[in-house]
């Protein structure tokens, strides 16, 4: 009996070599291309390295420098602000657009496609188009002039008071269409009977939204939130293409500061330390979100 049991168990749990290969080969590739460079990054964050000589081990020196680094502080604050503004606005505007465009009407497909179109373009191309619009004699200033708001004309990307917000706009312009599509899918999944019942009960549109739409969109919200958090923390291309974190660090994000420190100032050790901080932040935000999500699922 015991023998039979063990044979059965081993037959049931033995992994066929093909399956094992399917797991191990990608894992090896991943280990080589992802885990290994990441480990190197951790090691480099403990060194001072100019990319040419051998790295000098400095322990936690880079991290203690960060504590007194004003640019790091600006970049960290901007990254949090970016997360809130970019994240919050793209969710709100995406949901708004989805609500507006959910009903099948004549020509609605055109509006949906128009809003989704920016998602198709590469972010660098998007940034270049916006750069032309933000130029001192570009479209935005010309329009302001034409409608009698010449006093509002501005060097949008060259002014430290406006650069950060000017950079968020193209990022949002692109993200809203993506979020809208996610919400449209969610809205399609809501049973119309719920709304009919609510109408019979005399619920206003706002009440319908609050008590039917929002709770029904809970699962979509989870997807949107994770997409937004990940996209916020990896935002780099649009800022780099438009301002390179400038003028004088006013639109600096942790990602752009990491890049300029490492590859422009050739302080690769400090740049790696910044990369470690970004990793920890991203991991922290995502892990805390996952824990919360699991807890909600359990309850």
């Amino acid at each position: 009996m015991a023998l039979l049991g063990s044979t059965r168990r081993s037959r049931a749990t033995r992994v066929p070599p093909v399956v094992l290969a399917f797991v191990l080969v990608p894992l090896l590739a991943e280990a080589f291309w992802v885990f290994w460079p990441a480990l190197q990054g951790f090691y480099l964050s403990l060194t001072s390295w100019d990319g040419l000589s051998a790295p000098k081990f400095v322990g936690l020196g880079n991290f203690s420098e960060m504590v007194h680094d004003e640019v790091f502080r600006t970049a960290a604050i901007n990254t949090v602000l970016w997360l809130l503004l970019f994240g919050g606005l793209s969710a709100a505007l995406g949901l708004g657009a989805a609500l507006l465009l959910q009903q099948e009407r004549r020509g609605i497909g055109f509006y949906r496609a128009a809003l989704f179109l920016p998602v198709v373009f590469s972010l660098v191309a998007t940034a270049l188009v916006w750069q032309a619009m933000y130029q001192p004699d570009g479209l935005i200033n010309n329009v302001l002039q034409a409608i009698g708001l010449g006093g509002w004309k501005h060097a949008w990307l060259a002014d430290q008071d406006t650069a950060f917000y000017a950079v968020i706009v193209p990022a949002l312009w692109r993200q809203v269409g993506y979020v809208m599509v996610l919400y449209l899918a969610g809205l399609k999944g809501i049973d119309p009977v719920l709304y009919e019942a609510a109408k019979v009960d005399g619920a206003t549109r706002l009440q319908q939204f609050r008590h039917i739409t929002l709770p029904q969109l809970r699962s979509v919200n989870a997807v949107v939130l994770s997409v937004i958090v990940i996209d916020s923390l990896r935002s780099f291309d649009v800022v780099w293409a438009l301002t390179r974190g400038g003028p004088y660090h006013s639109s600096e994000l942790l990602s752009t500061y990491m890049y300029s420190t490492a590859f422009q100032s050739l302080r690769l050790g400090y740049g790696s330390a910044l990369a470690v901080v970004i990793f920890v932040l991203a991991f922290g935000v995502i892990a805390s979100y996952l824990v919360r999500a699991f807890r909600e699922a359990d309850s």
Binding site: R9, S10, T13, R14, V15, L20, L24, A31, F35, W36, L39, Q40, Y43, L44, S48, D50, G51, L52, S53, A54, P55, E70, Q131, Q135, P136, D137, A155, L157, A158, D159, Q160, R244, G246, P247, Y248, H249, S260, F263, Q264, S265, L266, R267, Y270
Partner: protein, 430 residues
């Protein structure tokens, strides 16, 4: 289960051991390797000359080299900023591109010191390079090894450029002194023109450095300037403050869009007469339409203190090669060709033609503009290169931030200089 367990454990132990071993041996330090790479095939020439006219001229030179028959070269043109950030990676890789467009002096020295550049002493003895001036020989010799590591092929000058027709229209003339320069600015401003164009926005913030360079060599002299950039003085010293006091006098005449547009757009503004003049190197002409070239003129950056010996910025361009190249003979052959009068003239004919060849027998474009430029450099007591060429590529971003900040918030100059010194210190102490 046992089978799988054993495999997984062994795999994890194996990976861990490999990882730890490599970490301990510091494999991230990319120790020099002599393996890999092919010694045959064309010599690769990595070029940062990506503006249309310069790129065409490079293609013409390489095509002419290939046509000679015995050896071939392959031109890879890379955007300038990408090239600059990738250069350390190129040079430290095991199988690097063979030759590179770049700069001599302290920039080349930073690589030569680490044995990353190919020694070129033997080709300097050949006829193509033997007649080069002593100043060029010195500029291309590594201070640490005493070997020649660079082949210079052209140089250019910086000046305050303007359109002759516009100056005639506005009824103004070239100034000589600082006071005359400020008067000129006043006159242009009264005519509704932004007197000084800049072009330190977009991806060319480094253009602002030349104002710092010129004011510093006019106020404190070229020697002090070089020492400052080498870390022997501080950016928050009173001498540097004097530079900004002078800059303050000219700052109200700068184009307000100067830090919002790159130098290519600032060139357009100059050509269209929206700005009056621009302190820039002759390379800007590569971005200008050819029919406008005849209307361009320049004047020397005004003298501020007659007691200070007159220095000019005249950056030299040329080529160096990787010490790890597998095609040593081919690279030297290519560099010898590039150093020849024939190749330099070919380059000048196909580009905007505003640079000066380094070969004593090579003819320049011969235009009045070029003759004036040559005279400017030849009559200078001292010659500087440019901020990053006299310091390092790594120090350039610190200047970009400080100077663009100064132009926007001039009153904060005290804290700007303190911050600049702090950032520079981090680079110097590496």
């Amino acid at each position: 289960m046992t089978v799988f367990n054993a495999t997984r454990r062994r795999f994890l132990v194996g990976t861990g051991a490999v990882g730890a071993g490599a970490l301990l041996s510091g494999c991230v330090t990319q120790t020099p390797s002599t393996s890999g790479g092919k010694s045959g095939g064309p010599v690769t020439l990595q070029s940062n000359l990506s503006s249309p006219q310069a790129k065409t001229a490079m293609q013409a030179v390489v095509a002419a080299y290939d046509k000679r028959g015995d050896a071939r070269a392959q031109l890879n043109t890379v955007a300038s900023e990408t090239f600059r950030t990738q250069l350390p990676t190129y040079l430290t890789s095991a199988n690097p591109p063979d030759a590179y467009t770049w700069y001599p002096g302290s920039v080349a020295e930073s690589y030569a010191k680490k044995d990353l550049l190919l020694g070129l002493d033997d080709i300097w003895e050949k006829p193509e390079l033997a007649g080069y001036s002593d100043a060029l020989k010195k500029l291309c010799t590594s201070a640490s090894s005493g070997k020649k590591v660079f082949v210079p092929t052209s140089y250019y000058w910086w000046g305050v450029f303007y359109r002759k027709s516009n100056f005639a229209k506005w009824g103004v003339k070239e100034p000589k002194t600082w006071d005359e320069f400020l008067d000129l600015c006043d006159k242009l401003k009264s005519k509704g023109v932004a007197p000084i164009g800049l072009g330190a926005g977009g991806d060319t913030p480094w253009v602002a450095s030349t104002w710092f360079d010129y004011l510093n060599i006019r106020v404190n002299g070229a020697k002090y300037h070089r020492e400052l950039l080498a870390g022997k003085h501080r950016f928050d010293d009173p001498e540097v403050r004097k530079v900004f006091d002078k800059w303050d006098e000219a700052r109200p005449f700068f184009d307000p869009n100067g830090t919002a547009i790159p130098f290519q757009d600032a060139t357009t503004a100059l050509l269209q007469g929206r700005t009056g003049m621009m302190l820039i190197g002759t390379f800007f002409a590569d971005a200008a339409p050819k029919d406008a070239l005849g209307d361009l003129d320049f004047f020397q950056f005004p003298i501020i203190d007659p007691k200070v010996p007159v220095a000019e910025e005249a950056p030299t361009d040329g080529y160096f090669a990787s010490a790890r190249t597998k095609r040593v003979d081919g690279v030297k052959e290519l560099l010898r060709y590039l150093a020849s009068a024939e190749a330099q003239e070919l380059y000048l004919r196909n580009s905007s033609g505003t640079a000066l060849p380094t070969h004593p027998d090579a003819k320049d474009a011969g235009t009045p503009l070029v003759l004036k430029g040559r005279k400017l450099i030849e009559s200078a007591t001292d010659v500087t290169q440019f901020f990053n060429r006299d310091s390092s590529d790594a120090l350039q971003p610190t200047a970009d931030t400080a100077l663009v900040h100064y132009l926007a918030k001039p009153k904060e100059i005290g804290s700007i200089l303190t911050t600049w010194q702090r950032s520079a210190q981090k680079i110097w102490s590496q």
